[in-house]
């Protein structure tokens, strides 16, 4: 093992931390923004009015068939064209992530809401609650429980997908590590570190999802 130089990790830690911060920012914005937008899309898809449901389901279908890399590229080149000035790769990447993830969160939210029995909403309505109240007080709390493991799972996927931002020359954690790896010729050490970090974060989140599911009252 004498050929390995694990000190490289300590020496490049500031640069790696910057990459990790970007990854974390992307995950956070994509999850929060994606959930909010996805929630709206899900309500539209569930609407009985086609003017709401058709655009939403078209959006979701299109987004889900596109590779994320393509969406990242698109926004990088398209957004400046639309608004007439460059926006920088970070802003376009954040926007792309939010709009892309919204399609997936829409499906998660929709499945969660559809899973709640119809009778629950009848019961709420029968007591005089309004539709919005039924949704907020009765349907969503139940839907959220069903959705939690799926949301955590999606966060793991988003985290893994953040490495794709290298195409718009952003340095996420993986990209930062690979920069160090090729600059200093320390590929083994850096990629071992990357693998361990991804493993820890993804396994941790998956375990949290399992733990959450087990803790649910039946």
């Amino acid at each position: 093992m004498s050929d390995f130089d694990w000190g490289i990790i300590a020496r490049s830690s500031a640069f790696l931390a910057e990459g990790m911060a970007l990854s974390a920012l992307l995950v956070l914005v994509a999850t929060v923004g994606g959930l909010i937008l996805g929630f709206g899309l899900a309500l539209m898809r569930l609407s009985s009015h086609w003017l709401l449901s058709v655009p939403a389901s078209t959006y979701v279908t299109v987004m889900r068939t596109l590779p994320l890399v393509l969406v990242l590229f698109w926004f990088y080149f398209l957004v400046p064209l639309v608004i007439g000035r460059p926006v920088g790769s970070l802003a376009s990447a954040l926007l792309a992530f939010v709009l892309f993830e919204a399609a997936f969160y829409c499906e998660i939210v929709r499945a969660g809401i559809s899973n709640v029995r119809n009778g629950q909403s009848d019961a709420g309505l029968a007591t005089g609650l309004r539709r919005a109240q039924v949704l907020r007080l009765i349907i969503l709390p139940q839907a959220l429980r069903a959705m939690m493991p799926l949301i955590l799972n999606q966060i793991v996927i988003v985290f893994q997908d953040t490495s794709l931002v290298y195409v718009v020359s952003l340095h996420d954690f993986l990209t930062a590590a690979s920069v160090v790896a090729s600059r200093d010729g320390r590929a083994t050490e850096m990629y071992a570190l990357v693998a361990l970090v991804y493993l820890a974060i993804c396994l941790g989140t998956t375990k949290a999802a399992e733990f959450y599911r087990k803790g649910l009252p039946t």
Partner: protein
């Protein structure tokens, strides 16, 4: 109190209700029976607008259910409803189930609502279950909580949609007893049920439905001794012989 006039309802080209007319007066207990698929549940759900209908009118206390001008939530808050499958909110305790609409519809304070809920839970014999979740209660207990949830709104009338059909036999009586007590106190009730014993004890009138039509609307005594329609006679023979 409840006036149903010439109500029609169809899903696609399947007629669920045809020309249904009936009246439930203040303080009356009307039992609706008939073979499954005859439209009983649909009819009772039309009364508080949970199921829309195409033709005819239903008025509750003079207010039309189907008129677009009607404040449907306000109307529903005055009619209690109990479902076959209880439909308690699984993420709330018994007390929270009973308090929810009091707080959000009647705008009672939480303390006020909870005090009322406790009283009503005690009245249906579940004073000690206030902090239990629905999943920790038996079917009979769940159905009594759902009756309490409806009563907490101080309804002018109660609708029951096969309240004992999902219950194990040994739990049916505890629910029927609560309903019987309500009837004796003068509550206006419309009850879809196969429990002919209950009908015999507390009903004023019996509606018999078959294939979407009300084929019999007679006082209880006559229904059990001399039903008008052949279909009702058959039904009674089948139901009462075992």
């Amino acid at each position: 109190m409840i006036v149903i006039e010439d109500v029609h309802k169809s899903y696609g080209n399947q007629h669920i209700l045809r020309a249904c007319s009936a009246t439930v007066s203040l303080g009356e207990v009307v039992v609706v029976c008939g073979p499954s698929g005859s439209g009983k549940s649909t009819l009772i759900k039309c009364i508080n607008g949970l199921v829309p209908f195409e033709r005819g009118t239903i008025t509750v206390d003079g207010v039309s259910v189907s008129s677009p001008k009607t404040d449907l939530p306000a109307l529903r808050s005055r009619i209690g409803m109990v479902f076959q499958s209880f439909e308690l909110y699984p993420h709330m305790t018994a007390l929270q189930n009973v308090s929810l609409a009091q707080i959000h519809v009647l705008k009672r304070s939480r303390a006020e609502a909870d005090a009322r809920s406790e009283k009503i839970l005690a009245r249906v014999g579940l004073g000690d279950k206030r902090d239990s979740r629905p999943s920790q209660l038996s079917g009979g207990q769940q159905q009594r909580v759902s009756i309490a949830r409806a009563l907490a709104m101080d309804p002018q009338a109660m609708l029951f949609d096969e309240p004992t059909s999902a219950l194990d036999p040994e739990m049916i009586n505890e629910v029927l007893e609560v309903m019987q007590e309500l009837a004796l106190e003068g509550m206006t009730m419309m009850v879809v049920t196969h429990e002919m014993g209950f009908a015999q004890r507390v009903a004023d009138r019996v509606l018999f439905m078959d294939r979407g039509q009300i084929v019999e609307d007679t006082p209880k005594a006559q229904f059990f001794t001399a039903p008008v329609s052949e279909r009702a006679r058959q039904f009674l023979t089948n139901v009462l012989t075992h």
